[in-house]
């Protein structure tokens, strides 16, 4: 049995290298869309909340999700929860929500391929011999959806977008306006982000 959800060539070009995860993410997205009955998002309605974090492998699957669903980083439709898990919630404004997770048995079986021996030695995917990469990609494509994914409806899931605001304050250092949600405190005074020296990590993600 071969999956019907194979990424188009431009997905590999977009991603930059061949690896098994981009196609897995693409397939997750397509499975989610077929379960929900959702089309690829042209504009700004369909959100995906991958449960991945940073500094661990397999995040490449989010590029496949972007390609499949049209819920892109640029459109601010993709936000990580930083749980460090291989799963994602797909939330469509009219079709509802589902969660798809990779089955541990599948992850373990995939981990035995030679591709991962290269990765664990720190070799970048673009430098791994094509035959080694294609072997695992093809094996993944042969596995039935049920063996790869756990799919759970999430009827209770609610997404509440951030409310916009027009309030602004003068930065006490550069005397320029900054919208209040971007205002930071330093030495007891309100400052814009560049003047405060604080950057993104003070912001809560997801």
């Amino acid at each position: 049995m071969k999956t019907q959800f194979v990424p188009p060539d431009w997905a590999f070009e977009f991603h930059g290298h061949r690896c098994p995860f981009m196609p897995i993410g693409y397939r997750m997205g397509r499975v989610a869309m077929s379960v929900l009955g959702a089309e690829r998002e042209q504009d700004h309605g369909f959100h995906v909340f991958p449960e991945l974090g940073e500094g661990h492998p397999q995040t490449c699957l989010m590029d496949g999700i972007q390609v499949a669903t049209g819920a892109t980083y640029g459109k601010v439709l993709m936000a990580k929860t930083f749980y460090g898990k291989l799963a994602a919630i797909f939330h469509h404004p009219t079709k509802g929500a589902i969660r798809i997770a990779l089955r541990p048995e599948f992850v373990d079986a995939m981990g035995k391929f030679e591709f991962f021996a290269y990765r664990k030695r720190g070799i970048e995917p673009s430098a791994i011999p094509a035959a080694v990469t294609d072997e695992v990609i093809e094996w993944v494509a042969e596995q039935p959806d049920d063996a790869v994914f756990k799919v759970e409806p999430r009827p209770e899931f609610r997404y509440t977008p951030v409310k916009g605001s027009f309030n602004k304050t003068l930065c006490s250092v550069c005397n320029e306006y900054v919208f209040d949600r971007y205002l930071r405190m330093k030495d007891g005074r309100p400052m814009c982000i560049p003047c405060s020296g604080y950057t993104g990590e003070a912001r809560r993600e997801g």
């Binding site: 977009f14 290298h17 042209q42 989010m62 390609v67 951030v162 409310k163 971007y182 030495d187 950057t199």
Partner: protein, 206 residues
């Protein structure tokens, strides 16, 4: 030399609708790559620091940056600085050489003073439903403008991954009375509050 026109079709496939911001991301990304003399990142060879926030117009810009630079959300080599600006700092990871490129304010303003924004986007019409006659000339203008009219390219500088000392400054949230690290405190009116209290009081978070 990377040519942004070679990446427009792929950018559009990823992004899902025609707008001027995605092409602007292609142009800014290309200018940065050409200034550094680097190729598209197949793996993590480049790092893109984008100054965008989450909740404002033209974040679509980031999909253009992903497409042309190969710095993708899935690979984790594109990061937001949350300044609410459109500058991009592109870093060649192996050498630490970096350059900041930003769209010219005049070019961004010219995009905003158009039928696409005034008659459609600001009235809540999704980008995919804007008539082609209102958006295509805008896309064409961004794709065809000479670099010097469109972008401002900085000098190459050495980039070191910032290491910030742990903060010892903290304050007591004026709303819940609990301790919060200063950089994580937010202002709501005259009150200095923690992030959950900011959400409670304003319905928004930053």
């Amino acid at each position: 030399m990377v040519n942004p026109k070679d990446y427009y079709d792929a950018g559009l496939l990823l992004h899902g609708h025609k707008c001027p911001a995605m092409p602007m991301g292609l142009r800014v990304g290309a200018a940065a790559m050409n200034r550094l003399g680097v190729e598209r990142a197949r793996d993590g060879q480049l790092l893109a620091l984008v100054e965008l926030g989450e909740d404002h117009c033209a974040t679509c810009f980031a999909d253009g940056v992903q497409t042309i630079t190969g710095c993708t959300f899935g690979k984790g080599n594109i990061k937001k600085l949350h300044f609410g600006k459109w500058g991009v700092t592109l870093v060649d990871v192996a050498t630490g050489r970096a350059v900041r490129v930003t769209p010219r304010a005049e070019a961004m303003l010219a995009n905003k003073q158009t039928e696409f924004f005034k008659e459609y986007r600001e009235k809540g019409v999704p980008a995919s439903e804007v008539p082609p006659a209102a958006v295509e000339p805008l896309v064409e203008r961004v794709m065809a403008a000479p670099d010097e009219k469109l972008v401002s390219v900085g000098e190459i500088f050495p980039y070191t991954i910032p290491h910030r000392p742990h903060s010892f400054s903290s304050l007591v949230c004026d709303h819940c009375g609990e301790m919060v690290v200063e950089g994580y405190a937010r202002l709501v009116g005259d009150q200095r509050v923690c992030i959950p209290c900011q959400e409670k009081l304003t319905g928004a978070r930053s």
